[in-house]
Amino acid sequence: MKSSDELRLANMNVHYFRYPFSFFLENQAALGFESIIFWGSVPHLWVDQFGYEDVTTLKEMIKKHRVKLLAYAARPYNYSLFAPMGSLQRKHTESYYRFCIEIAQKLETNQICLDLWGALRDGDYSVQYENCLEMLANLCTYAKGNNCTIVVGNVPNANSALINTLDEVQRLKDDLQMENLKIALDVCTALENGEKIEDWLNIFEKDLSIVYLADGRHTCSGCPLGYGCYPISKILRLLKDQRFSGTVALKMNREQSELNPTRTDRINISYLSRT
């Protein structure tokens, strides 16, 4: 799908949670999406801290449907980079994400996206931040050895007490100083926080690798394009004007769209073709 001329658009399988992965791929081919970001989650893929299922079939399916895999988005499940030192959750989190990096490689993509969920509201923020920093450094080092880039960004307040804002993401990047750490912008989260998309583009420039795009309103985010209160066409125009060279990924709210994901895809395509 290249409706927005120069922008590289990718769809995601998040809202196909109720259907087999083959159904998602068949729809992408039929609807004209040329690229995807694979959301690594059941029922489409099993991965936990002990390992993962054989991905050969998955890889073959993606190739057969002639869609390009641009990144692997690791589902956070109950793992957290903020988990306390020495805890089981921490040990399993690092192991899980290492397996995700391996899977990304096997699927022949060198970008792996992590959601920084799980900082507690009543925990010590500086300790949790340091916990996150340390594990992210370890994962970046491991990914670098595998020629992979780690992509992290702002996360909704409902999912974490930290890394919700542009300032926090910038600080994390500055503190980490890892070449293979790139940035993702979640448009809904940024707009909920009253941030400007221009600021994200200007501050991170070429390091802004992925823009997660969806519509939203006060009561929900991840809505189909045009079904919320966000200035989506203005944002798309801005990304084009600024020659954004990363990926614009359509990340829908799973629960809102999972019963009829194809309908959501059609709404998005219709919106994009008008823009």
Binding site: F23, W46, Y77, A83, L120, D122, L259
Partner: protein
């Protein structure tokens, strides 16, 4: 009257807070019983291991709270579910839920909540149903050994095609045919399917041993799980139904999605207190 100790709080709503904060909040709100949701960040449970139960029991009991039931998290934010579609996923799910039963037993709780799970939306009913029956049967065997009662709840029609009505749940119970499988009413799920709590007592009688009991919507059925008073359910009518059926089980307050769970538990207990005796 319903006794105060029959009302149980739940930590699922406190996923952005520590377990200590949850316990403190339960005491502040006036709960005497809790149903523990066995997920991170409070606990760890997977297909191979689970958290140290001794510490959890000690902390909970020291706060003056009784652990009356447990929920092994499924679906949503977890890899595991009772209707897992793929063979590899099913094996891991059986191991995980079996460990959930063992975790529950070690915590000293008698009840573990379960549901039917779900299949692919384009699966046939029979295939989807058979997978759920297979997993629940395997978990029920472990429950029998451990002396844990599995309380099967219905889900909503948006979550499953095979476990959202009384008839479907009855068929599932009949097929599994285990002395460890009992029933629970989740008032949000049953209302979503336009069922009344009385219908569950009519069909299952004393096999109804547990409830997830919170407010929800009627005009536009939704995921609900609100603080009592924030939705549209008739609390007095629900309580009367329980008393009429001589229900002696627990009423877990499975409130979800709160930005301030402590305040919500306090507000919730304030509403319920009008119907409770100590």
């Amino acid at each position: 009257m319903i006794k105060r100790k029959q009302i149980a709080g739940m930590n699922q709503n406190y996923r952005q807070y520590s377990f200590d904060y949850f316990l403190e909040s339960q005491v502040m709100a006036g709960y005497q019983s809790v149903e523990l949701w066995l997920g991170a960040p409070h606990f760890w449970l997977d297909s191979c291991s689970w958290s140290d139960c001794k510490t959890i029991r000690q902390k909970t009991n020291a706060a003056g709270l009784a652990i009356i039931a447990a929920t092994t998290p499924s679906g949503g934010a977890f890899q595991y579910q009772y209707g897992a579609q793929e063979p590899f996923h099913r094996k891991r799910s059986v191991d995980y839920f079996s460990n959930g039963v063992r975790f529950t037993a070690e915590l000293g709780a008698k009840i573990m909540s379960i549901n039917s799970g779900w299949g692919y939306w384009n699966d046939s009913f029979d295939i989807e149903f058979a997978r759920s029956a297979e997993i629940i049967s395997a978990v029920a065997k472990v429950a029998q050994t451990e002396g844990v009662m599995l309380a099967l709840e219905s889900l909503t029609g948006d979550e499953t095609r095979t476990g959202y009505t009384i008839d479907q749940i009855k068929t599932l119970v009949d097929v599994v045919d285990s002395p460890s499988v009992y029933l629970m009413v989740d008032v949000v799920a049953t209302r979503y399917s336009k069922e009344k709590t009385q219908q569950w007592f009519d069909v299952f009688g004393e096999k109804v041993i547990h409830c997830h009991f919170q407010d929800g919507d009627v005009k536009n059925p939704s995921a609900g799980h609100y603080v009592w008073g924030d939705g549209e359910f008739k609390l007095e009518e629900e309580i009367e139904c329980l008393i009429h059926n001589d229900y002696r089980g627990y009423l877990t307050q499975e409130i979800c999605g709160s930005s301030d769970p402590r305040n919500d538990d306090i507000r919730n207990m304030r509403v319920l207190s009008r119907f409770l005796e100590d």
